[in-house]
């Protein structure tokens, strides 16, 4: 079942076609990576999928609603209710603690609930770091807080922009483990990256070049990877809590 569908989407800035008649289709529960060099239109696509921009032409169906035609106010509502965002720069409010940062997201969505926020931090293995300020957390820990923040409102779609771009390998693996777990739970994931390893963790990779979809690569080893991951999780059973 399709969650997201881009039909002939173009975004034109003056003479530049950032996106040129792109057709993309993402199913519910799918884990998709979007790759491409700088200037290939990744960011533009991300903005459009994240309800932060509208295409010049084309339709963008998110859960059956054409978000290309909605008002900014409506886009904000859709973004808040359906999308969890994870950024390369983490973007935490630097004067709020980890748990408060998670609660900011709850605040705009519905009602701040500290218990729930603490549980979300527990899922990313940061329960005991809940009352630390961002400056007291490592990059990996900050990104895990951001994953918890993205999860807190149970979004239909998690949209991650270079989530491991600022992380070392160990932390990259932790984040990928979290993604694998989210996938296992049925969350739809779209990860924009230029890192082949991160892309390889996904089920399918869409490669953008010059604003067009150059090719799509299906990860044939994905089911094996997931099995391996579940087995490893059982033996390690540490950072990532079982569902």
């Amino acid at each position: 079942m399709s969650l997201l569908e881009l039909k002939n989407v173009s975004k034109i800035y003056g003479d530049l076609k950032a996106l040129d008649s792109v057709n993309v289709h993402v199913d519910k529960g799918e884990w998709v990576a979007i790759m491409g060099p700088s200037g290939s239109g990744k960011s533009t696509m991300m903005n459009i999928i994240g309800c932060m921009d509208r295409p010049t032409y084309g339709e963008v169906l998110l859960d059956g609603v054409d978000i290309a035609k909605e008002s900014s106010k409506k886009l904000t509502d859709i973004r808040r209710d359906k999308i969890g965002l994870i950024f390369q720069q983490f973007h935490m409010v630097n004067y709020l603690t980890a748990v408060e940062n998670v609660m900011v997201s709850q605040y705009y969505h519905s009602m701040p609930d500290e218990q729930e926020a603490l549980e979300a931090l527990g899922r990313v293995g940061l329960r005991e770091r809940a009352h630390h300020l961002p400056s007291q957390l490592s990059g990996g820990e900050q990104q895990r807080v951001c994953v918890a923040r993205a999860l807190i409102n149970h979004p239909e779609l998690i949209l991650a922009d270079e989530p491991t771009g600022n992380l070392d390998e160990a932390n990259e693996n932790i984040v990928l483990d979290l993604f694998a777990q989210l996938h296992a739970e049925g969350t739809t994931l779209i990860v924009v990256t230029h890192d082949p390893e991160v892309a390889d963790a996904a089920q399918r990779t869409i490669v953008l070049e010059h604003g067009k979809v150059a090719r799509e690569v299906i990860n044939e080893h994905f089911d094996e990877q997931q099995k391996e991951w579940l087995a490893r999780l059982k033996t390690e059973n540490k950072r990532v809590m079982p569902v």
């Binding site: 960011s43 991300m46 903005n47 994240g50 932060m52 921009d53 106010k73 904000t76 509502d77 973004r79 808040r80 209710d81 965002l85 950024f87 390369q88 720069q89 973007h91 409010v93 630097n94 900011v104 997201s105 705009y108 969505h109 923040r149 922009d161 270079e162 771009g165």
Partner: protein, 465 residues
């Protein structure tokens, strides 16, 4: 943020300070203006002047707190026969004069004892009189003024004075006040010229003095009253002086009393050509304690003064009040100018505060644009961004307002003490006013920064930098 708080605080301080002064200035300035003299006159309706009771009744119309002073005056023409000069003599209350006419400048001192006078500088120069000099003044009643039946009872309540020669040529003076049935109510004997331990005792001896009370004039020594033992000559002079007083007054003849000059008065005005004496001395000289006019110094606004004057005229028989327009008008004009100046300064300060707060908030917004972008990306609506910043601004306004009200009061206090030399009372309305105005200013200042915050593109968080 701290800067914004500070600027609101300072703005509110100046606002609160100036408002306090603004409210207090009329009172302060009123007190200052009181030093320029009386601003209200109470006049008698008739020819005969008004009594003390009438004046007191008139003064009841003015709240005690606002009445700075009320100086009664009685003016008569007196002659100084030795110099063939005649002047205006004014009977007054020297305690009140210091309040209603603080600009009186005196060389010497105010009269304190009976038969002491203050002489205007012009007179003093004309006749070459100095502090300590003696001065003999004669009052000549105008035709019909106190003419009465020589044999009949004296006017009830009249004050009579007379003198007679006592021991070794010294003069003994008496002043007597009659009660309602023309009997002696009280008397004062001045036997300063007599031997202190003999005739002088007539001044103080209780049994000698008290025997006069309740008696009708004229008196005969040995029948109506007894002499003070050992001081027959002085006692005789006292009785003689009393009888003279009665006869003099009833016959409407001149009265001459010798006074001592205690001070020379300089005012730069017409007062320099007057001789001032106490009301009691004036009564002794003229036989009446009525007053012609009372000069009032009232600390009140022009409108209040008008009201008081109307009330006095309406509520008191035989008396009318009017304002000294010259003083009240200039007072109102100066106050009006001062208040509009304060108003202008306050407005300018508020505008400056607004600019400062607006600039600071603008800086805060651009400093936090990533955070604002993030909040929007996380689903914050424009409304909630607006509410957050407005709330922050209003909170700043609240803090600044409270801070400003407190500091402003201190500021106003310092200004008041230094400029006006008096402290001010805390206006309870000041706190809410300062808080509401600073919150309003803060909210206004936030409008532009909020507009900018709302315009921030949430996609800002996606761009790597």
């Amino acid at each position: 943020m701290l800067i914004a708080l500070l600027s609101i605080g300072i703005g509110a301080t100046i606002l609160a300070g100036l408002v306090t002064i603004y409210v207090d200035v009329p009172r302060q300035m009123g007190a200052q203006f009181r030093s320029f003299g009386a601003n209200m006159l109470i006049l008698s309706d008739g020819e005969k002047g008004m009594s003390k009771a009438q004046l007191d009744k008139a003064l009841e119309n003015i709240p005690a707190g606002q009445l700075v002073g009320a100086a009664p005056y009685r003016y008569v023409r007196v002659d100084m026969t030795t110099r063939q000069q005649s002047f205006t003599a004014a009977g007054t209350d020297f305690d009140q004069i210091t309040k209603t006419s603080p600009y009186f400048s005196i060389e010497g001192r105010y009269p304190e004892n009976p038969r002491e006078v203050l002489v205007g500088k012009e007179i003093a120069e004309t006749i070459g009189i100095r502090e300590g000099s003696g001065m003999e003044l004669t009052w000549q009643p105008a035709a019909g003024e106190t003419a009465g039946d020589p044999s009949g009872d004296r006017q009830p309540g009249a004050i009579l004075s007379g003198s007679a020669e006592g021991w070794s040529g010294g003069t003994v003076y008496v002043t007597v006040k009659l009660d309602d049935s023309s009997r002696i109510a009280s008397l004062t004997i001045d036997a300063g010229t007599q031997t202190p331990e003999i005739g002088g005792l007539t001044q103080t001896d209780d049994s000698f003095n008290s025997q006069f009370v309740g008696k009708s004039l004229p008196l005969t020594l040995g029948e109506d009253v007894d002499a003070l033992s050992g001081a027959t000559i002085t006692s005789t002079a006292v009785v003689e002086a009393l009888n003279t007083a009665r006869n003099t007054q009833s016959a409407g003849t001149a009265m001459t009393i010798k006074y001592t000059v205690t001070g020379i008065l300089a005012t730069g005005g017409e007062e320099e050509s007057y001789v001032f004496m106490s009301l009691e001395d004036m009564a002794g000289l003229t036989g009446s304690d009525a007053v012609d006019v009372a000069e009032l110094s009232v600390s009140a606004s022009a409108e209040e003064l008008e009201t008081y004057a109307e009330q006095i005229t309406e509520n008191t028989d035989g008396v009318r009040a009017r304002l000294v327009k010259r003083v009240t008008r200039s007072e109102t004009a100066v106050l009006g100018k001062l208040q509009s100046l304060v108003f202008l300064v306050t407005a300018v300060v508020l505008i400056l505060t607004m600019i400062c707060v607006s600039t600071t908030m603008m800086a805060v917004v651009s400093e936090r644009r990533r955070e604002i972008g993030l909040r929007k990306a996380l689903g914050a609506s424009d409304g909630s961004i607006r509410t957050e910043f407005l709330g922050e601004g209003m909170f700043l306004g609240l803090l600044g307002g409270v801070l400003g009200a407190v500091l402003g009061f201190a500021f106003a206090q310092v200004v008041s003490v230094n400029v006006f030399g008096s402290s001010i009372t805390f206006q309870p309305l000041l706190l809410p006013t300062a808080v509401i105005v600073s919150m309003g200013v803060a909210a206004l200042s936030c409008l532009q920064p909020i507009k900018r915050a709302v315009a921030i593109d949430p996609a800002i968080v996606l761009k790597d930098e």
